[in-house]
Amino acid sequence: MTRLLLFLTLVMAQPLVAQTALPPAPYADRQLDDPAQEKKAHELMLTIRCLTCQSQSIADSNASMAADLRSQIRERIAAGEDPEAIRAWLVERYGDWVSYAPTTAPILWPLWAAPALLLLGGGALAAARVRRRHSSKRKAG
């Protein structure tokens, strides 16, 4: 019975394994020995989009594309590259879409300005309201 189950499981899993039948990327799921480097690599991976998934970072995905990129990032970090340089390289290769951290391209300036504008605009509105109430009260009093 157990053997039959094992057989069935492996047969059913075949199409899933087939996706990854290529020789796996060496550092896809292997951490770097230096914890500081691994931390840098992991933090970068969290902000790189898996292009074949539905909105997942490559750090959170089983897809072979994500595994591939994880391995590449670890190898480059191990070789001493700067995380932001690697991001720039990825963006150049795959476009802005690949980076969850919005870049500083002009089309993204409004996005970066939005929080400050909202805060200033809302703050000014609220302040005007409070001040008006304040002064009208004083006049009335």
């Binding site: 157990t2 189950l5 094992l6 069935l8 499981t9 059913m12 899993a13 199409p15 899933l16 394994v17 990854t20 020789p23 796996p24 799921d29 292997r30 951490q31 992991h42 969290l46 902000t47 989009r49 998934c53 539905q54 909105s55 997942q56 970072s57 750090a59 959170d60 995905s61 089983n62 476009g95 802005d96 879409w97 690949v98 980076s99 969850y100 951290a101 919005p102 870049t103 391209a105 089309i107 993204l108 996005l111 939005a114 929080p115 909202l118 805060l119 809302g122 703050g123 609220a126 309201r129 409070v130 109430r133 304040h134 009208s136 009260k137």
Partner: protein, 641 residues
């Protein structure tokens, strides 16, 4: 037969909604007061018919009636009954039917339970509720009929997405929908009050329990959904600023702001126009969220029922309702008299700050979520993800926590700055103590945001309890306890988030049976791996034993599951909960040399995130009971007499 019955009930419910709207319209505008007597019974009957339609769909799923297109496309006879049942709303049509059912029931609730509201406003509110329902009935009947039959029934169904085959499905979507759609009541109240020019403190007191109820359910729904994604997706993440997550967060943010401003209106008769505006915005955010999720214009890891064509229909509904409500607001805002005055140092000002910061976060989340769509229109694909939202919403949220410490100890109308400062002494000292302790222990090892998060969480935890100091605890009203507990929950939750992001240890290992690895004081060994079968899946299951610092090992069973209909693999993580955190173990794929890829995380105090969410919901519930108990008791006595 059941399908036809369901469809007939749905058509009848829709026509009753139309009747309800007409009765209110001709009753109020045409001044035929006798028509209004029919409104409440019609609202109740409409809800009943809608519930019948929904029960009919549940019955079809439970019986696996494959002649119904929806069942055939989303169910399978070999599924466990719980997933047949919950699978009713694990698809587009079913979830929209759940939506209108909840909306109908909420309307019936307003018809039966609401007593505090002026009669014409009450009627106008029910009219608005019927008008919103009508749009969604039309959507269901004309473009998403859940009861459509197939010409020839297939042998068996295509199955439910395995990621959804979890007890979470039975609980999370209905709770979230109750919250989403509960906000439609606030929307209808706002429209009703604008129509009948009746925005004042009494109106706010009538609206508050509905807002509070929807907010509690929304809080529970989001908290539960976050935990579900955390253990089901198998990567240890609990929030990713994914569009679907943002879609649930936006109504919550608006509802939280509304909850606070409605209290100002109810207590002090201030912030009238703003409160009405927020009530419109809150439900608008629910609809925007639904549109984003259902239309599939944004890719999401949680979107399971997507259909771009129907997106257009929802977009049209959205424009009609939001546009209509805003236009009404524009026309009538001049008739809303300015409310009561208050001084600069007052609780009102604190609550205005609360509303300001919450609205800014809401604006940022909305813009960040929609931004990729806007740039795509210019042919430029970008992603806006955690680095942006964390960097922007994180600091504002921490600022909000500071306001949360100061607000409850500031008096209404007017207070002295010095006195408020004195009441903040203890939380400030606790914050400074936490700051120095963390600076010594973890300086430079953790990020700025988690660092500040931990400090402010400590200060807020103590600060949230300050309103209870110097009070007779027995005489303290229940709603004050509710506020204290909800605010404490925020501190607890932020502490969990900061701790998870600062101290999580990750260990990836390729293991053979018999291997052991250690991480963060845990020794994890892979004892055995073997096949196992469930109703509609087979799996490889690992026996993993985990021991902390040489203690007694605990057995864990992570699985790698394979489903046949539809063919999918999922990782069932195994989670070991300790008081100070969770050990999270995932069995990955086999490597070519016969080892198994294991992912292991130790997440200190991560459970606080959801514990905090639970406390927030509990606080809301206590507040609701505390405010409304007397009215409920009175009505019960009256009913008994």
């Amino acid at each position: 037969m059941i399908a036809e019955l369901g469809l007939a009930a749905l058509w009848l419910a829709a026509s009753l909604a139309l009747l309800q709207l007409a009765l209110v319209w001709f009753g109020l505008v045409g001044d035929k007061a006798d028509l209004l007597a029919g409104v409440r019974p019609v609202a109740v009957a409409q809800a009943g018919l809608c519930a019948i339609a929904f029960l009919a769909l549940i019955a079809l799923f439970l019986r696996s009636d494959m002649s119904v297109a929806l069942v055939a496309a989303n169910s399978h006879s070999a599924k466990p009954w719980l997933y047949k049942f919950a699978g009713t709303w694990g698809n587009h049509e079913g979830s929209m039917l759940l939506w209108v059912t909840v909306m109908g029931l909420a309307g019936a609730g307003v018809a039966l339970l609401e007593r505090a509201l002026r009669r014409d406003t009450h009627m106008a509110t029910l009219g608005a509720q019927a008008a919103i329902s009508l749009g969604f009935y039309a959507f269901l009947l004309f473009s998403s009929n859940p009861f459509a039959r197939l010409a020839a029934a297939p042998e068996d169904g295509q199955g439910l997405n395995p990621l959804l085959q979890d007890p979470g499905l039975a609980f999370h979507p209905p709770t979230l929908y109750l919250g989403y759609v509960g906000l439609s009541v606030a929307f209808s109240f706002a429209v009703g009050a604008l129509m009948t020019r009746n925005v004042d403190a009494a109106f706010a007191r009538a609206m508050r329990p509905w807002v509070l109820g929807a907010w509690v359910l929304l809080t529970i729904g989001i908290t539960a959904g976050s935990y579900w994604a955390y253990y089901e997706l198998g990567w240890g993440g609990w929030w990713f600023w994914d569009p679907v997550e943002n879609a649930s967060l936006m109504p919550w943010l608006a509802a939280t702001a509304l909850l606070h401003s409605v209290t100002v209106l109810a207590t002090r008769d201030a912030l009238r126009a703003w409160t009405v505006m927020l009530a419109v915005v809150a439900f608008s955010m629910s609809m925007v969220g639904t549109f984003l999720v259902r239309s599939g214009i944004l890719t999401s890891v949680h979107a399971f029922a997507v259909d771009p064509e129907r997106g257009t229909f929802i977009l049209a509904l959205l424009l009609v309702y939001i546009g209509g409500a805003l236009a009404l607001f524009g026309f009538r805002v001049g008739t809303v008299r300015e409310g009561a005055q208050f001084e600069l140092v007052s609780r009102e000002t604190m609550l205005v700050l609360n509303n300001l910061l919450l609205s800014v976060v809401l604006g940022v989340v909305l813009i960040g979520t929609l931004y990729p769509l806007m740039t795509e229109a210019f042919g430029h694909k970008v992603s806006v993800g955690p680095p942006y939202f964390d960097a922007v919403a994180g600091p504002i949220a921490l600022g909000l926590m500071l306001v949360m410490i100061a607000g409850p100890v500031t008096r209404w109308r007017h207070d002295a700055l010095r006195a408020v400062g004195g009441r903040l002494l203890v939380p400030t000292l606790v914050g400074l103590a936490a700051l120095s302790a963390l600076a010594v222990l973890a300086w430079g090892r953790i990020g700025v945001l988690p660092f500040l998060g931990l400090v402010i969480a400590a200060a807020t935890a103590v600060g949230s309890l300050t309103p209870l100091g110097k009070r007779n605890l027995r005489r303290t009203p229940l709603f004050t306890y509710g506020m204290v507990i909800a605010h404490l929950g925020c501190a607890v939750s932020i502490a969990g988030m900061a701790s998870d992001s600062a101290f999580t240890v990750e260990k990836l290992a390729a293991m053979r049976v018999g291997d052991r690895v250690s991480a963060a004081g845990w020794t994890v060994s892979l004892d055995q791996i073997g096949p196992i079968a469930g109703d509609n899946w087979t799996a490889m299951q690992a026996d993993v034993s985990a021991a902390r610092d040489g203690g007694t090992p605990v057995l864990l069973h992570p699985q790698s599951r394979f489903f046949t209909t539809p063919p999918t693999a999922t990782n069932e993580s195994a989670i070991l909960t300790r008081w100070n955190g969770q050990l999270y173990v995932v069995l990955g794929e086999p490597t070519q040399d016969g080892r198994w890829q294991m992912r292991i995380w130790w997440k200190p105090f991560v459970t606080l995130i959801w514990l905090g969410g639970g406390l927030i919901a509990l606080g809301g519930l206590l507040s609701l009971i505390g405010r409304e108990r007397r009215g409920w008791m009175k009505r019960l006595r009256k009913a008994a007499a």
